[in-house]
Amino acid sequence: MIQGKDFLWIFIGFLLLIDVSKAEKGTVKIGGEFGVRSSYLYGQDTFSLKRPYAHVKAYFKNFGNDEVTQEVSISSRFLLDDEAPKSDTLTEATYKIVRENSTFTFGLQEIGWGETFGIYPLDFVNARNFEDPFISDLKWTRIPVFALNYEYLGEKFSGQLIAIPKPKNSKFPSKGDTFDTTPASLAHLDREDMQAPQLMYDSEIGGRLGYLFDFGLDVDVYYFYHRNRNLALDLKNATYFNNVPISGTLSPVFKQIHSTGLSSTYATGDFVFRLDFVNHFNRPVNDPDTLAVKYLNNMIGVFGFDFSTENKFQLGLQYHHDSFTEFYYNWVSSQMSFPLFGDLMELSFFVFWGLNNQDLWYQPTMKFFLSDQFSMSIWADIIEKQEPKKAGQISTFSEHDRVFLELGWQF
């Protein structure tokens, strides 16, 4: 079976076969990153991640005439850790046609929506890898999907249509995994495999419309009909003792849902204001008290601003709201960053603080730019519980503080 990495060899062969020098006005770019990412998990006193990797991307452009531009992009991520032999991933394989204001992209791709940082409520076109909930880097967590993606790009007005014939399921921690969020009372139960989406039957479709007003306000509205990206577990064939299930099967629940959204930005001076809002209709979720699966409207919003100065000091503040018909959570997050020693080093600090729940997450980061190509990052995830507030969405991991180290070399 052809694995992801084999596509790269195929591509290299393609590169050698085609006579690129004859592609008039053609542009060919090959680049990527080679790195090592590792993390040390306190509490268990062990390395939870030790992964050398390589991202490689090749890009061709302008095979065609002056009116129509054609582009081919291929990129792949190779995990070089022998403990994960089947983890090589083709992350992009697209063919793009650009004609005047229209762009049509066909193939395996990632489609990013939204304007806010840190938490990405509108970024749900692609399924996500939630096996490690604290790795929020979309480069690592978005799951590429085969899609037909048309965009109209006008001067003020823009629009987009997306069709995904066969979506992918999000990935979640396995039973018993460090970051498994299954409630303790159900953790001992067996879990069924996730049902694979079916071609066309589970297809997804949607799009957005955007407008840039003359006074600088940029607004986009979204609609997407899609498979839910969150994990809801339905308890089947349960037997109880003292109201506690002692046997049964947890079955992941997936259904097609409607989602609508809005994003907006406005810049004035050194301030940029941002808003992301999404409403998922009848989304399957587990009730936090009874654990039963309910179908609820889920509204998620992030509103904030960031401020930057000429010496590259940046400060951002955001308010987060996540509500269901019957319960809600809200948080405040803040991110601050500034350079040191010219552009040699960057320090940043992120905090995510629950207002009506226990969540409290700190993430200090140091990044060193050792050369034009070589960088090193050290950061920590420190999770605390704010007693006696109600349980949040991440406070359950308060025993799992970690330190990360990443080395990267760009080529």
């Binding site: 790269l8 690129v20 050398p52 890009y59 990013g112 990405y120 810049a267 034009d372 190509q373």
Partner: protein, 307 residues
Amino acid sequence: MLKLIKTFLFLGLLTFLSGPLLSQDEGSETSTGSVKEEKTAEAPTEDVSEKAPEGEVEGETSVASKDVGTPPVVSEDGNEVAEGRMPASVEGPSAEDILKRADEVRNPSESFFMKVKVTNKGEEEKPSQFNVSIKGNNRTLIKTLLPKRDRGRNLLMLDENMWVFIPNLKRSVRVGLSQKLTGQAANGDISRMRWSGDYTAKLLKETKKSWLLHLQAKKKGLTYEQLKVLISKKGFRPRQAHLMSVSGKLLKKIYYQGYKKLAGRLRPSQMNIVDAINDNKKSLIEIEEMEARDFQTALFNKRNLAE
């Protein structure tokens, strides 16, 4: 271990292959039509290495300290010439006309491409490099070539709005226009190359050699609210600019140097930017290539920032 060695081998192969392939014309990727005029900088035909006359900015005696009215635009043979193409021999051009002529020195046409290198003092071994596509005064696309870690972080300016593409997010993010490109260079220093249209000009002082103009922003959200610009009468060449905030506080000084032939005429190939408070903080913007070029309007869209 074998896997690691294999990875190094094919990465080396890719790097080897990318050498001749990348030698193709990268600049043409943004072109829609034929490339006009010369592309690369040519050796100057005259010595234009004279330094900016710093003393003239503050110590000149003025010949006229009020706006000069716009005279009829006539050539030496008495015939009228087109507006904006005044012969240098006509005395008393208005402040706005001087500004337009200075813009013509800095910009080859309404729509052009340039390759820019930015070097910060103390980091000369780590320059930044950008491909800049400009259409009019309100559309600029900046593609980052160096440093490699920032490759893909492309910037788009539309009117007073700016976005930067974040490769990890695979989407563009709104940023402020005054944000730094690198070092002392703000995004607007290379993305907005025309003063006329953005600023109202007033003639402050005039000497035998130069004009000193005061520029006041006409729009909100521009990189600098006020400027004082020294323009040499010889060829309407910008020499020096003092960049100021709303309150008139001096923020930066820019020296226009290295006049040489770019896109068919003598233009400043260097902008030396110096912090007003700490003159050890300097950045040098060098225009390595410049050519007039036509672009599709659709190119300047935030969805197109991804490579």
